[in-house]
Symmetry: C2
Subunit: 300 residues, 2 copies
DNA sequence: CTAAGTGTATTCAATTATAAAAAACAGTAT
DNA sequence: ATACTGTTTTTTATAATTGAATACACTTAG
């Protein structure tokens, strides 16, 4: 009925390990040193030592910590950590919204979702709070959360931001110094695109990965933390959305490869205006596809 | 040891009010209707009715709810709501960071801060979680929060984003149709600037308000929720920062007014290129000022 | 005497239990 | 048949609880 003693358990097992590496009669380092090496507080070290003392693995008296016997496998205490990371939660949540077409306005049930995603409720709270900055969810006046969701307007507004960021990135990119590793990456990407184009009938499915790689390479010239963060969300949302639209996939992908190649060529020739034009063309195609897929999904 | 009964208390007092408006022997509307008009759940209505029944103000039996006597002032129950809004919390928090020069890396003490700002701890949690999207704070591995803070790099990166958004807004602005109310606003702003310039020696302090007004007018052409949200934070951060830099204020403000007027003229003549150039000049000045003030503050 | 180490007390935060509120459901009276 | 009430279930917000971190006082070895 309080926080878990996961840290204690891990520290205890780690101490067992340290005892194993010593022979009987050796003494352990100081509490402060142990706390540094195991990266926990001295409190945790002390309670673990105290347990070791009880079990008889060490004899602890003041600053004397003698190893009395080798710990056995049975001395290990269980530690179960099956909580997922924040990124994983984000991935699963967006997946859920987009995959199951959760309609905008749906009230979000925190306790249900936390069971569903296997995270503590307060972690979900925190996550929803952070999403509220992207206007994807909203706090309801009487408590609880509401999904604002991936509406047509939302998509278009996010797209506008994406356009802004991407064009900005391209302007930077063409001005990169010749020794920048970005140029090598561009060469690689060009070749990969050409290879894929040559076998487009068999391998058109592989485009989605290449597409993400391409755009994230362009974005990578931004070392701006805000833009990186925004880009992360943008990528997630669009990536997931495109993933389930399977109509005309081969044709769409082939056209996109041509657009990418045009953009790569313009970038390689350091022609800012041409690169921006090519990028605008590509974004415009992408926008149309997105709109179409939204229209179809909403009609279902 | 659970949530507050604030809703109950408010509903109870509201019901007293309703009873006052009736005469003895009248009956109250149905539970469902009361719950709709007071905007609380039926559960709350029922517990309030039940209390009213106990106190003898009404006689409640099934769907019969007779008013027995007029409620007196002493029947009111106390309800203390002194919690602040989310915007206010945000304002206070940024104020605290910038005003007291809280150094980056400072661990944030949630319980202390929640006392300090007079908000429930979980509200602060939520707020910090949402700020983490702007990389202003970060969760520490061992629990708790850490202030990442307003470093030089942070300011420059935020400034880059600001530049991007503002230039984008100006491009849109010059393309606005002639009937758009924005043009009237531009006229007004121009006049206000000229008036202020005429009395700059006495009124240079008033510029800060006009400055915010000017930039927020430019931003207002964006109906994009992300950009609006970003702009809100940008405005807060920069506004607060400029507010405490009092060196050469008169000169700086006078120069800024000239830059604003140049930009306004370019916008009014619908010359995109010239407007963008003017905006870039102004942003560049602003950037220099910011850098200077950061340098001085960090040296203290 | 000093520095490193230990003992103790205090503070903070993650979790849980619980009361308040909402919502769902079933039944009843008009 | 519909609108209302009674009851139960579920969910949320908060306080109590306990694990962990930290600060401080004290001790001992060199």
């Amino acid at each position: 009925m309080a926080r878990t003693d996961e840290r204690f358990r891990e520290a205890y097992n780690a101490l067992l390990n340290i005892c194993s590496s010593k022979s009987e009669g050796d003494s352990l380092p100081s509490e402060a040193e142990l706390s540094r090496t195991l990266d926990v507080s001295r409190t945790v070290i002390r309670s673990a030592l105290s347990r070791l003392n009880e079990v008889g693995i060490i004899h602890w008296n003041g600053r004397q910590k003698l190893v009395m016997r080798q710990p056995a496998d049975t001395d290990l205490i269980e530690v179960n950590l099956e909580t997922i990371s924040n990124e994983e939660l984000e991935r699963r949540f967006l997946n859920w919204i987009l995959r199951f077409d959760v309609p905008p306005g749906t009230p979000l049930n925190v306790s249900e979702l936390s069971r569903w995603f296997n995270v503590p409720a307060h972690a979900l709270h925190e996550f929803l709070a952070s999403l509220s900055r992207f206007s994807l969810v909203e706090r309801r006046p009487k408590g609880g959360w509401k999904l604002l969701g991936f509406t047509r307007e939302y998509a278009m507004e996010l797209f506008e931001l994406r356009t802004m960021i991407e064009l900005n990135a391209i302007s930077r990119l063409v001005k990169s110094p010749p020794e920048d590793p970005i140029w090598q990456k561009m060469d690689d990407l060009k070749q990969k695109h050409q290879e894929l184009l040559a076998q487009i009938n068999e391998r058109y499915n592989d485009f989605s990965v290449l597409d993400e790689q391409f755009h994230s390479t362009i974005y990578s010239v931004n070392h701006n933390r805000f833009i990186v963060e925004l880009q992360r969300v943008i990528a997630l949302v669009f990536y997931y959305h495109y993933q389930w639209d399977k109509r005309d996939e081969r044709e769409r992908n082939e056209a996109a490869i041509h657009e990418h190649l045009k953009l790569i060529n313009a970038i390689q020739s350091r022609d800012e205006q041409e690169a921006l034009d090519a990028a605008r063309d590509h974004l415009s195609t992408s926008r149309k596809t997105l709109l179409l897929s939204l229209k179809i999904n909403n009609k279902q």
